[in-house]
Symmetry: C2
Amino acid sequence: MENNLAHAECPAIATIALLGGRWKVIILHVLSKNARRFGEINVRVPSISRKVLTEQLRELEADGLISRKQFGEFPLRVEYALTKYGESLCPLLAYIAAWKKENA
Amino acid sequence: MENNLAHAECPAIATIALLGGRWKVIILHVLSKNARRFGEINVRVPSISRKVLTEQLRELEADGLISRKQFGEFPLRVEYALTKYGESLCPLLAYIAAWKKENA
DNA sequence: CGGGATCCGGTAAGATACTG
DNA sequence: CAGTATCTTACCGGATCCCG
């Protein structure tokens, strides 16, 4: 992640790093259909702990791929959604999935 | 990696896992131009230790993405090259790199 | 409900020295 | 040259408890 030379001559790696967290692709996939609340995401990705889910969401937010909207209600309500940037990733993921099928 | 439900509904993640090792994309990128010897790869990816490089190469080989050819010479000579399967990954990497440029 | 704080164990990664 | 062995460190992910 700190090898700038390699980054320069191989831009793909930065993108892979963006998706590097083992759960991020799944999370993005879940959000690609609808904006979701924390608990909804957690239900759809059962084997992830809340802590890790929180961390991954924060990183995705920091990378500008998702947005976080908190409502001042009670019970608390937080909704996550793809940003434009995050949406632009969807065809890429579809492309990747297609490659997988062709080369299964 | 053990969430089969998620895998089933999101095939892309398996591919990402294939490239998951932080160095694999770089290594594949290096090999995409030419078959390379161990030392040559090491020179082109300086910040990786020999140990980790070895591990990553073994995993890439186990996944069928690269081939390893050992010559019985001295000094020892080992050459790594992309397999057909590995080559099929190149357009995908190019696509990823292109996405990166468009969304920089 | 949606997290944050903390501790803890496993594994990945780095450094170094050695080998066929 | 192309690794292997060993040790140490860094980080990731899980469990639990706590907070607003």
